[in-house]
Symmetry: C2
Subunit: 228 residues, 2 copies
């Protein structure tokens, strides 16, 4: 697995390739050139070849990529065959939506249990995943290996839950709390965090909308002026 | 608003600055140096100064940034004061979670209505947002200005809903469908998309977990060997 010289940007493109290859498989496409793959993804063929060359030789000159073989290689690069175990903490709306709608197993993750503090939901389950008492988390982690915690607790509990997880040996967090969990005092090798920052994404969208509107307004003004 | 020479990477850091500044305000911090801001965000002071310099002069040499003033500048850069209007399409678990938990108004968006095809939820509402019949969407868009559509429909309906939106003048989509909506045949200026790709994020996390595990295993093996 170790790919010490591969940049984060390359890694982050891998899931996108995987999704595209799944789409191609569904559409009955069995072989694709880097040119066509690039066209469909808005990337240059040379960037695609360069990305894959970080991990070995997958394609064949003038012949393209075999979709299923490339898909298997990327799945393996991403460690989808490793059987990660996960727990979810905080069964509010977003936690519930993930438990009911997000297919963890499709992506190689086994969601083992969820944890919450609300007595009325402890002992119930969503899609077969039992909701356990948050107070039993340290005990659970002593008895069960957990690779990843999906963190959906309210903002105010984000940092304390991170600390509890790290203290009990969980060093990877899928973070839905909108709080920055990586702080300068935590060494990189001790904690891996991937964030879903809804607001960051929406704010970027807002920026691009305004930018487009201003562009159009400026063009219209220019046109107006030239036709005066 | 127009900032033609600002890279997307700079834009995408702006919401992160905004979140940090909100945290600082909450913590009662009124002034911060680029050095301290950088330390807290894992960025270099010069990168921070460079990012802000794209938009004008916000700080004062040797004096730092005024937190509330900088926050206001960034909010304005992002267009949060423009009063964007939004609709949500597809009130399943994720759509529901967004309607109930995500504070659109905090980020400058006015969520006006939601749309779905299920008769049993049409006419009901979440947090005061009414769920309207999907069949009435074109009519609604003819009568109401909408900047952004939040797309939470099942995968199979993603592309057809995008086309319906574009046909009716909505050219910005916040995309939760896990389907690529930007395709080579759609010019950039005609459609802006921001994606929340849950699986991409989780797969990247998986990669970094495996990478860390392999690193540790390799170090342990080396240590073992050297103590033989």
């Amino acid at each position: 697995m170790k790919h010490p010289n591969v940049s984060n940007n390359v890694i982050r493109r891998m899931p996108r390739y995987l999704r595209k290859l799944d789409e191609l498989t569904e559409a009955g496409v069995s072989r694709i050139s880097s040119g066509e793959l690039g066209r469909q993804l808005g990337l240059t063929p040379s960037q695609i070849r360069q990305d894959f060359s970080c991990f070995g030789e997958f394609g064949q000159q003038g012949y393209g990529y075999k979709v299923t073989a490339l898909r298997a290689e990327i799945a393996s690069i991403l460690g989808m065959d490793r059987g990660y175990s996960a727990i979810l903490i905080g069964v509010g709306n977003i936690g519930q939506a993930l438990m009911c709608n997000f297919s963890f197993s499709t992506w190689g993750f086994d969601l083992k249990a969820a944890f919450d503090v609300k007595p009325e939901i402890i002992g119930t389950n969503y899609e077969g995943i039992e909701i356990l008492d948050m107070a039993t988390l340290p005990e659970y982690l002593a008895d069960n290996h957990v690779d990843v915690a999906v963190l959906c607790v309210p903002k105010a509990h984000a940092v304390s839950t991170r600390d509890l997880l790290m203290k009990n040996g969980v060093c990877a967090i899928w973070n839905f709390t909108n709080v920055e969990l990586k702080t300068p005092d935590i060494p990189n090798e001790n904690l891996v965090v991937e964030n879903i920052h809804f607001s960051d994404s929406l704010l970027s969208l807002g920026y691009f909308v305004s930018y487009n509107n201003d562009e159009k307004a400026a063009q219209a003004a220019k046109l107006n002026k030239s036709t005066l």
